[in-house]
Every structure is written in C-alpha cells, then in structure tokens.
C-alpha cells in the first residue's frame, strides 16, 4: 500500500531516536516511519547495562520496545544495518548493505562510541569499551574465563563496570589518570569518600597512573604505565570517555564540530535533517546522559508533529552512580573557586557529605555523598538558578532540630514546566504524571508507576514524583496519600495486624472485605502478606490458603523460567549420608534432572524436574522438603567443628542440625538463614546470616541481621550465652519477635535497621519473662507444622489439580 504520508527515517535505534519516535506517535504525528539500527536488537535501555553486568537484570529485561511494538505502530525496522550516508539531492538514506530509504525528514541519532585510547596494544584481544550489549556480553564471558581485570577510567561508567566485574568474581583494578575519581562531577572530598567506599566493596585502585601500553601477545596480559610500573590484567575495559558518532553526518556533508551541529529546533545544516542525543552538539555542548536527550527529543517531536513548542535551550545535567550502597549526586558546578560562596557539611562518622555552591547568592551547583535525599530538590534549585533563602537553607541543610518539613518542597515542582522530564530512565514528563494523578484519582507513587512507568528503573526520580503527588493533591495529600502495604489498601502492616486481632478476622477474604480493600480479592503483593499475618496470629486455627501463595510455596518447589521445577531435599546442618546421596542420584537419573547443583546453603538442588513429575520425585526421594522456595528457615550452614576440626571448640555440626530440625517448616516474613561455627574462625560465615552463631571456649556468641544478596549487611553481635539451652531460647525469642513484628518480605537485615538493635535487645535480653513467652509462642506454632511434601502426597485431589495435566483429545 502506498500512502501519501510523509516519510520519516530514523538513523540509530537507540534511546534518543526511539524516544523521539514515541513522542511523535503520542502526538499523532502523521508519518511513515523507517528505523535503521546497527545493533541486532530492538530498542533497549542502555543505562541498565550496568545492572546487566551487576547481575540484577538480564538483557531481555532491558528491552524498551520489543519487535511487536514496531509492528503494531507500523514502523519498518532494519536491525543490524548501519547507515553510511544521506543523499540530500535524491533524498535517500543509504545503508552499507545497499538498502536505501526515501525520506521527507531524517533524524540522526547515532549516539556515541567508546573512546579507545590510541596506545600500542589497544587492538588486542580482551580489550573492550562499555557501551552496548556486545561489550556487556564480552565482560560476562571474560569473567568466566579470567581472573584479573583492569578498568581504565575512574568516571561513572568505569566505576559501574568495575563494580559489575567485582560482582562477577574478578579481581579488578581501576586505573585513573587523575588523583580524584569522577573528577568531572565530584570535588576532592566527595571523590575520596567514594574511593574509600568502593575499596570497602572490593574494588582496587591505581590512581594518578597514565597507561602507555597494553602488553601481551594476541591477548592482553597487562598494562604499562608512564612511570614504568606494570599491572597484570587478562581483560581490560576502556571507559575513558565517549566520542559522538558523527560518521553518517560527515559522509553526508553535514556540519560537524565535536558533534553534529544543531540549532534550537535540532535542525542540522542539511535541510530536513535533524539530530538528537549524544551525537548532537547544541550551543557547543554534547551531552552524555539521557535526561537532556529526552528534552531534545520532546522539542523535536513537537516540531515534527506541528505542535507548538518552545525552543530547546540546553540542559543542566546531574549524575547518579548506580552502585548499590554508594550514593553520590552532583549537579551543576561542583569545584569551588574564589567566586563561589560555599556551604558544606561533612560527617565522618555517618560518612556523609553535602556541598552547595552559590554565585551571587544563586544556587549554581551541589554535591552530595552518602545521603542523597535532597538530590531531587537540589537538582531543581540548580536548574532554576534559585536564590538561596533561609527557608531553602533550612530545607536542604537541616536546621539541627525538626525543621524543614515537606510542604515547602512542592514550591519547586509547582514552577516546573509540564514538559520537563521527571523520570529520565523512562522519559516521563511532569505533565504525564500530573495527568495520570488527575484522571485516575491516584494517591500513591505505586499507582503512578503502574500507569506511567515513572520510578520504575533506577528510582532516582521517586522524590520528585512524590513531591508532584503532594503538590497535585494539595491539602488532600496528608490524609489520602498514606501508603498502605500495596495499591489495594491504605492500611499499613501494623494497622492490618491490629485490625485482624481486634476484629477476629480469619481469612484473607474477610480481611479484605471488612477493611475495605480497593481490589476485592487483593493482588499478588497483599494476598500472600495477609495470609502470612493470619498464620502468624492464629498458628493453630488459620487454614493456609494455597491460592494466596506464590507458586513456589504453593507447589513446594521452585519454578524456573521454562516452567520446570527445582526440588531440594533437606540436609540438616549440611550433612548427608552416602545412602541419601545414592538415592538422590538414582531419582535424578530416573527423572532426567537437568542439573544437580550444590547450593550456597550446603545442599543439593535438583533442577529441571517436569511439573507432573514433581510429586513422584518427592515420593521416591522420601526425604523432608528443604524449603528452598519458602519464606521460612532455609538452611543452617555449619562448619566442621569440634567433631573433626583441630581448631573447633564447639560441635557446630551437631548444634546446626539440631537447630534446623527444631525450626524447620515455620513461616517467617521472609526467608531465614542461619549458620553455626565451631570457633571464631567462622568458616561457615555467620556474618551474613539472619542468625549467625559462633562457638568460643565458654559457649556461643549470637549475631543477628546479616545478609548476603543484593543489599549486603554484616550481622550485629547480639549476645553471648554459655549453654545450648540458652542458645535455643535466644534463637527462639529472636525468631518469634521477628515473626511478630516483621513486615512481610522484610529480611532481618532491614528489620534490625528499622527497629534498631537496641529495641530488639531490650525486648529480648532485658526482659526474661517476655523472652520466655516468645519462646513458648514459637514452640506452640512449631507444634502445628507438617512436612508439605508428605501432606501433599496424601491429598490426591489437590495433588492432581496442582501438578497433573489433563489430556483431552
């Protein structure tokens, strides 16, 4: 079908270009659209490559618009096709494989390339940039094969790459030319604090080093510096900067400086050809972040759709490092000169730092480290070049008492223009958020997130979204914006638990009816939570609701992405017998288990069991369920201990197995892990467990609130006890107190921080009566539990409804 719509061609299937197309579609711009992208993927969120490397996302998770999106919007997409030039005479875009496309309008959004240092050896195998999925995959692969890595460049990208590689188990050194990290965003003080923090997280640094050569044969084996010293590395990431990708523009005779030169409507020197994103240079500036390119895209989209728009006048950029546990922020100017008035506060104990720079009393820049709650506010103030006032000062620096208060902050969102991007990751404007709130009567950030996508990625924009919510709802906010445990209710966990007790509610349905849930039968967040609270309150009477359990708990096995299941038998204290091992092997062979894996918690995963085989596997294993799927006691990891170890002073294996037998099967707010060690050498790693126990000459030391995982936390020492009986009583009391006061899904690491160690100590250690009562309550609850595998094997109808496929022909 030929149409008489104008033809729009986009060169570069990245964030800026496709962001612009999305806006054009929203504005109803009437174009036949063709997109060329040199990568073999649909449009993805480049920012999130850092998370892919860190392991918390995979490539599929970061796709922004899948193939279908192009199809549904009638967009012709050529992936894996690099454009070579634009022919302005014949109005054609020409690709390297000979493909051409006619145009009426063209957008060049070819982004940047990693800057590779022009030094000997930089072409060797094992040297990559950090820019696209291919680079990221090269890093993931390298981490499997090699151990020593170097990252050249201590800027944002370099540090995120380094942390990712550390997480992948590599020994990583960041080589940086300057004495300060992120010297283009941070001052000396913040940079030093950042370095110290990253060192604690396992990154090494070689500062003030200029790399002059990469050594090695075909593959890189090391770095040589200008001072003659060397560093071993079988893998090198170059993250020294980016350079705008201007090849297409150059080949087409378009004016190019550092980037492709554009005016305030993103128009290049060639008629009908526009450019946005990292490849563009506007008023002398090239930007390397998404917020400016969304701003550019908005202006261009309106311009191309014939909507009225203000010109693009440049962006104020701010930076956030995406490494968990490292909060840094900077906006505008950050190095103080004699022209500046400097307001700063550094707290070496809390490891926080705050600096605001004023020029003629205007706020021109800010740096935050450790505590970035004021970042959104400061970003706004810098952007607007606001004048410093007593109120703002009190707001951002704190007055030392309870001063500040949220109300004033809405002033800055009030004056924010509607088309300003609030969520840089997802390109959501203030107007989109305000509309979503007004049209749907939203009162929570979660609702806004579900509708617009804002706050969904890095979360950096959440404070501003909250402020907008507060501003739109005005006086109604205080009361209505109280956030409940999920979008279905405004009640908090404590309120729900109190109401259940006070009103004697017994089922999730009753809770939701009586307490006025918005969605009658709740959602996947509140139904499991309420089911847990009911079970915790009435351990003997509550009938567990399978339909309110997440699949893993309902089936007592872990679902995998292909729909098969993982079955994990118990191994008390990580100890097994040759007979059990043999049985596990036999069953694994018989049911064609894909992988048998030793877990971090010392037992065996049988991965890849077909759903309908799961009950048979349990039956033939004839071992108790290991609860690898549950919010319950997972494992008690043990070391060798006094039975065999020459250092051991306590029987860690025996006590570990005893504790695992005692506490297995009971529900907790979240998964629960323990470890028992025979001596302070701590071979079973107590410091990252919910309860960690370390033997010493006179008894045991108990630690609580540790966690490995995504938010690591080292456990706090809780108390020392002399006998095994005291040990059990303390464990019981801690566990039950957590069961009774923890929020559903809240790990003890968060729980300890929320309640404060002192409160838990005083509830349990200073109050013998309460301690004994807690221990009794957990014993009562424990007396009610049964092995789920046995139970299910004895319940034919449930088992067949859950696991069997009904075959019909």
């Amino acid at each position: 079908m030929t149409s008489n719509r104008e033809k729009l061609v986009l060169i570069g299937n990245g964030m800026a270009g496709v962001g612009t197309i999305e806006q054009i579609l929203k504005l109803g711009g009437n174009y036949d659209i063709t997109v060329f992208g040199s990568e073999p993927y649909p449009n993805y969120n480049r920012i999130m490559l850092s998370y892919v490397l860190e392991g918390s996302k995979n490539v599929d998770d970061i796709i922004l618009n899948d193939w279908n999106w192009y199809k549904e919007n009638g967009i012709t997409l050529h992936t894996g096709t690099a454009v070579t030039r634009i022919d302005g005479e014949s109005r054609k875009v020409i690709a390297e494989n000979g493909l051409t496309a006619d145009y009426d309008k063209v957008i060049i959004a070819t982004g940047s390339n990693s800057f590779i240092l022009p030094i000997p050896g930089s072409g060797k195998e094992g040297v990559v940039g950090f820019r696209d999925i291919a680079d990221c995959e090269a890093m993931l692969q390298a981490a499997k094969e090699y151990n020593k890595a170097a990252v050249i460049g201590g800027g944002l990208l370099g540090l995120e790459a380094a942390k990712g590689l550390v997480n992948l188990g590599m020994d990583v050194t960041v080589v940086h030319l300057m004495e300060d990290l992120m010297e283009r965003q941070l001052d000396h003080t913040a940079a030093s604090m950042l370095k110290a923090e990253l060192e604690r997280q396992g990154v090494k640094f070689a500062m003030g080093k200029q790399t002059v050569e990469l050594t090695g044969e075909e593959r890189v084996s090391g770095l040589r510096f200008s001072d003659g010293t060397e560093l071993e590395a079988q893998f090198v990431v170059m993250a020294v900067g980016i350079k705008p990708n201007v090849d297409v523009a150059k080949a087409s005779g378009i004016e190019v400086n550092r980037g492709i030169v554009v005016d305030d409507y993103l128009q290049t020197s060639l008629e009908n050809v526009y450019s946005v994103g990292e490849c563009a240079e506007h008023r002398g500036a090239c930007y390397g972040l998404v917020a400016p390119l969304f701003e550019q895209g908005n202006v261009l989209a309106k311009h191309l759709s014939g909507a009225e728009t203000k010109p693009y006048e440049g962006s104020v950029v701010s930076t956030k490092l995406k490494i968990s546990g490292v909060d840094v922020f900077s906006a505008g100017e950050f190095i103080d000169t004699p022209e500046h008035t400097v307001i700063s506060a550094k707290d070496d104990w809390k490891r926080t730092y705050k600096k605001i720079l004023l020029k003629d009393n205007m706020i021109v820049g800010a740096v935050l480290f450790g505590d970035v709650t004021e970042s959104a506010n400061l970003q706004k103030l810098v952007k607007q070049g606001s004048e410093m006032t007593d109120d703002i000062y009190a707001d951002v620096m704190g007055t030392g008492c309870c001063g500040g208060g949220g109300a004033k902050k809405t002033a800055s969102v009030e004056s924010m223009p509607g088309e300003e991007i609030v969520c840089g990751c997802n390109g959501v404007t203030k107007k989109a958020i305000v509309d979503a709130i007004q049209d749907n009567g939203f009162t929570t950030v979660d609702e806004i997130k579900a509708c617009t996508g804002a706050t969904r990625s890095c979360g950096g924009c959440k404070p501003v979204v909250e402020q907008i919510l507060q501003y739109v709802l005005g006086d109604g906010f205080e009361q209505s914006a109280k956030t409940g445990i999920c979008g279905c209710t405004t009640l908090s966990r404590d309120e729900i638990v109190a109401e259940i007790r006070a009103k004697g509610l017994t089922t999730t349905k009753e809770v939701m009816n009586v307490l006025g849930w918005k969605q009658e039968e709740g959602c996947s967040k509140c139904r499991p939570a309420v089911n847990y609270y009911l079970g915790m309150i009435y351990p003997d009477m509550h009938e567990d609701e399978k339909e309110s359990r997440f699949v893993n708990e309902r089936m007592s096995a872990n679902i995998q992405k292909d729909g098969t299941f993982t079955v994990v038998p118990r191994m008390y204290g990580g100890v097994t017998t040759p007979e059990d091992l043999k049985r596990i092997a036999d069953v694994s062979i018989k049911y064609d288990v894909k992988v048998v894996k030793v877990t971090g918690g010392q037992r065996l995963d049988l991965i890849g069991v077909k759903k309908e085989d799961v009950p048979k596997v349990w039956e033939e294993l004839d071992m108790p369920s290991g609860y690898a799927y549950a919010k319950s006691l997972r494992t008690v990891k043990t070391c060798v201990g006094s039975q065999f170890c020459r250092f051991g002073t306590q029987d860690s294996m025996g006590v570990g197995a005893m504790l695992e037998r005692k506490y297995e099967r009971l529900d907790f707010p979240a998964k629960f892990k323990m470890a028992v060690n025979g001596c302070p050498r701590n071979c079973a790693e107590s410091c990252t467990k919910d309860i960690g126990i370390v033997g010493n000459d006179g008894g045991w030391e108990v630690f609580i609130g540790g966690n490995g995982g995504i938010k690591p936390r080292i456990a706090d020492s809780f108390c020392k006890v002399k006998t095994d009986e005291e040990l059990v009583e303390i464990c019981s009391a801690v566990m039950q107190y957590y069961r009774e006061t923890g929020n559903y899904q809240e790990r003890t690491s968060e729980w300890v921080e929320r309640l404060g160690l002192d409160q838990i100590k005083s509830a349990i250690l200073d109050n013998e009566e309460e301690r004994k009562a807690l221990a009794q309550r957990i014993d009562f609850a424990l007396s009610q539990v049964n092995d789920p595998w046995k139970k299910m094997l004895n319940d034919d109808s449930t088992r067949s409804a859950l696991f069997e496929k009904a075959e019909i022909r």
Binding site: I63, G453, E521, S524, E547, I808
Partner: protein, 106 residues
C-alpha cells in the same frame, strides 16, 4: 472464524480448585484453565505474553485478573490483555459450563 472452533469437554467443575490454575492439554495445545472465586471459568493458552515466555497456570488469581507467576504481570483473564504499564496479550479461548461440565472451544 468462530464457526471453525471445535468444542471439547474438559472435566467437571469440581476438578478445578478455586483461584488456582490447572493445565489442560487439548489436541496437543496446552491451556491454563482458571476457576475464579465466583465460579467463572477462563481458558488461556498456557504461554506468558512476556518476551521470555513461560507458563501462566501457576499465577495468583484475583477476581478476573491473573498475576503471572514469573514476572508478576497483571493479565485480564477475560481478554488476555496485559495491564499497564506492561504490554501484551495472552490468547484466550471461550469456555462455557453445561450442568457441571466444562466445555472449551479451540
């Protein structure tokens, strides 16, 4: 199109647990069949519309919505439509009940 469908008996009402999906294979096609707390029945192809796929039968059912078991997408059982901010659609098949027998059209 409708006329081309063939109808199959897929068991009795009581074979299905309320708010818990069940896998039914009809002529080699795998369906996830759900019974809501109000005894309405819905049949979807047992394939997650998420780009990574996976099953649907094991999700959490609330009213006529399903929270899928792998990615927690909210899906309307009546239309298969994925709710915002996610996008996509699962294939749905018509179900009707005669007496206590469930019939599914393929």
């Amino acid at each position: 199109m409708e006329a081309a469908r063939q109808t199959y008996a897929a068991g009795k009402v009581q074979d299905y647990l309320k708010q818990i999906g069940r896998v039914v294979v009809i002529e080699g096609k795998e369906l996830a069949v759900f019974r809501t707390s109000g005894d309405e029945f819905y049949a979807l192809e047992n394939r997650n519309p998420h780009p990574k796929g996976g099953p649907l039968a094991e999700g959490i059912v609330s009213g006529h919505y399903l929270y899928d078991p792998l990615y927690d997408w909210k899906i309307d059982l009546r239309t298969g439509e994925v709710q915002a901010p996610d996008k996509g659609q699962a294939t749905v098949y018509p179900v009707h009940i005669d007496g206590d027998t469930i019939f599914i059209g393929i």
